[in-house]
Symmetry: C2
Subunit: 466 residues, 2 copies
């Protein structure tokens, strides 16, 4: 018990739930009939419900029949793209980019980004997500939404080399302007789009800026095997080798997808000087019929954390990290041909500690324990689809659903209580966004913000066609 716990009334006491905990070897366990005590946004105690019976508290939550787990972390998304949910269906990757998404994104305004981010945060809070790593344009608007809605986020302003040095400079300015804002809930990254749209000099300059300013880098790389093969055909090196030779692997880097990571890349990732992590969003890989998924087992073997993600809703149709957790387990079993691999407890390890490390918050979130930020969710397991419970880890990963999250808490502040959002007005957002959609999705102008072109002699690192 910390001194604070005895001296001042707690800000929040949650009682009666099972609490997901990690032991000193990071194994997942559950403490039954427990209580969680929060002061000043920090968990100060995880104890028995009886121990806090008479404890003074500004707010109490009776969570019997529920499980408290660390808030989910969406390790790679483009939150404002919820505005395009369902717009570009059943298309191969190249057509998805060139024919729909990049033309539409040439219409984007800050207001679209703001409304999309607000809708995305509503969806994520309702699905038990407390932190997200966002990679998009007009990110000042996203930062404002994060500040207002109470979530935690790692934000990066995306850029292509086709924007000239201004793209990189804007990304740096954004990162420096917003780092540590929203009461410390916002952290920032430099966010080059990918090695196939950002050239080597630009990546090298990004790596230098990252080291100089102590910023991490968040980018797409080796998204699929075609990209790896195109990179080999053009440059004689894989995308991960590009990250190595440009110095990006000397920074703290979060790589999105990595389904095109090949065996030869693993030593580079293992020896990287910075903190290296990968975000996996398996739904989209199925949808695009990519031939591989993220090599989670190989990355585990070299100590690279793999966080869970949804990518944007234009490719994933939702920001449902709960589904990403279940799918990661299922698709890993299938791709490795091993039903014993990626058990529910392993999936929960990815969802908690590995995801926290992936977004650079390994010391502050990802577990419910004294000294950690009070980012947690309460999950109701009384529904018929989650009964009976023979194995709580399996119930959480494979039977529970995002809609079973009843309460979402960040820094000790309740953002959703009993399914009611307390910081976002969904109806208003949907109404205004609906009015803006015709202008947003108009493609009659023939522009696109970038070109996806993996041909051997195509415009790899292509130029803006605006």
């Amino acid at each position: 018990m910390t001194p604070a716990a005895t001296e001042s009334p707690a800000d929040l006491v949650i009682t009666g739930c099972a609490v997901l905990t990690h032991d000193d070897r990071e194994r997942i366990g559950f403490t039954r009939d427990a209580a969680v005590v929060v002061h000043d946004g920090v968990v100060t105690e995880v104890t028995g419900a009886g121990a806090v019976a008479g404890r003074a508290a500004r707010e109490r939550i009776d969570a019997r029949g529920q499980v408290a787990l660390p808030g989910l972390i969406n390790c790679h998304t483009h939150s404002p793209m919820v505005a395009l949910r369902g717009l570009a269906e059943d298309l191969p990757t190249e057509e998805w980019f060139n024919d729909v998404v990049w033309p539409v994104e040439s219409n984007l305004t800050g207001r679209d980004v703001e409304l999309g981010a607000r809708l995305a945060c509503a969806e994520m809070i309702r699905g038990g997500v407390t932190t997200f790593a966002d990679h998009y344009f007009a990110m000042d608007a996203v930062a404002a939404v994060v500040a207002e809605c109470g979530m935690r986020a790692l934000l990066g302003e995306a850029y292509f080399s086709s924007q000239g040095p201004e793209g990189r400079e804007r990304s740096l300015a954004f990162a420096l302007r917003h780092r540590g804002t929203a009461g410390g809930r916002i952290t920032t990254a430099l966010a080059p789009h990918a090695p196939y749209t950002v050239d080597d000099p630009d990546l090298a300059a990004t790596a230098r800026l990252a080291r100089e300013h102590g910023l991490p880098v968040h980018l797409h790389a080796a998204e699929n095997r075609d990209q790896t093969e195109a990179s080999l055909a053009r440059h004689g090196v894989t995308p991960v080798e590009v990250l190595h030779r440009t110095g990006i692997l000397d920074t703290d880097v979060l790589i999105a997808h990595g389904t095109g990571i090949v065996d030869g890349d693993l030593p580079l990732l293992e020896c990287a000087e910075g903190r290296t992590a990968v975000a996996t969003a398996p739904r989209g890989y199925l949808r695009f019929a990519w031939p591989h998924t993220t090599p989670v087992r190989a990355l585990r073997d070299i100590g690279v954390p793999v966080g869970l993600a949804t990518d944007g809703a234009a490719s994933n149709n939702s920001l449902d990290v709960w589904e990403a957790m279940a799918l990661t387990s299922l698709i890993q079993k299938s791709s490795e041909g091993d039903p014993r691999w990626l058990t529910s407890r392993q999936a929960l390890h990815h969802a908690t500690l590995q995801s926290a490390r992936a977004v650079g918050l390994g010391d502050s979130v990802g577990r419910i324990a004294p000294g950690r930020r009070a980012d947690l969710v309460l999950v109701d397991l009384t529904g018929p689809h989650t009964q009976p419970v023979h194995d709580l880890a399996a119930t959480l990963v494979h039977s529970a659903r995002a809609a079973d999250v009843r309460t979402t808490i960040v820094d000790g502040r309740v953002l959703m209580r009993d399914r009611e959002l307390l910081t976002i007005d969904v109806t208003g957002v949907v109404a205004e966004l609906g009015e803006r959609l015709p202008a947003l999705v108009d493609r009659s102008h023939g522009r696109r913000i970038q070109e996806y072109d993996l041909r051997p002699h195509g415009r790899y690192g292509g130029r803006d066609r605006k």
Copy 2:
């Protein structure tokens, strides 16, 4: 408009929703701001909301912001196995059967089956399922639950050849006793377990009984590629060829899984005299790391309907047909290497007409149209995870979730209204089932009801070890 619609008050009028409809070429469409009128359990009109403004009705549902679609059909499950949800995790198929499920099932009592079925029906009604095809033991108890809770079901009493001829006879007696009961909501099938546990003479006798009594056959066959290879090694024929030579393909047959169906089987399935259908439950194939999924595209090309299914919750962890719909689309894209295949509209075709045909109800359910039974669900699309809507089919398949079903209706009777179950007491079921679980899951006796053994000289069609 039928005469009934003008002469007597409707039993139920639903207004203001979009209605999923099929055109004369079975293409999926949506009628906006529509109304559905029900008399005597049958849809009598699908019209504009304005056309029914003054219509007399015993019950009205204002369904603005919702979509009405045909109730989902779970084409292959073992409903009472919800009692084993999460008990046998991360195991290969053989260990799952031999070390956990078949030992535990030697403890089964009728009361366990009844409680399990009741919990399963609660889960399915909450997930928008109106009909299920069930294949299990002590099925009188399941029939009683179906009668009481208001769902529609195709029920079959399972048997192994290890039970002797009594197994088959009990299955027949069950099918004849319950056929057409529960106001016609119960239909029945003969339910041999599988070609690897029911020998050829027994299958041939089953086929004769099916033809004699006009009953369909529901069984597992070619569940995975290992079974197909084991059958070839032992008998020189595939499981589908076994169904052919024993006459099962001359009956109306529902084949569960079929991930081991090979190209050479297709002409047999195409030329089958009876109605042949396959149920696909892709979640379990991933979980068991089977190397293939159901060959939906090849079956489509020969005109064999493929219905959606969950299998039992001991392998699938849920009876979530909504998830099965999304996963079928995603896994088919991935397995065919074609992002354009199995679009959301195709997924909805499988979920509606093809599933209805698979369970032998192609003329009575599976679409919302005059003359069809009034089995439908209302889905709320106002949640942030389903907004905005660019493509309603994509929203339904890839963004909506089982928990978005607000109202479930069978034969015009509301079984769930605004998420509240009206015919099942979940709390009571969970409490009693919980008390019974220690006895149910006890494996100290060393018995199992059957053996899974695909070895070339193993006891294929093995004997009861009780």
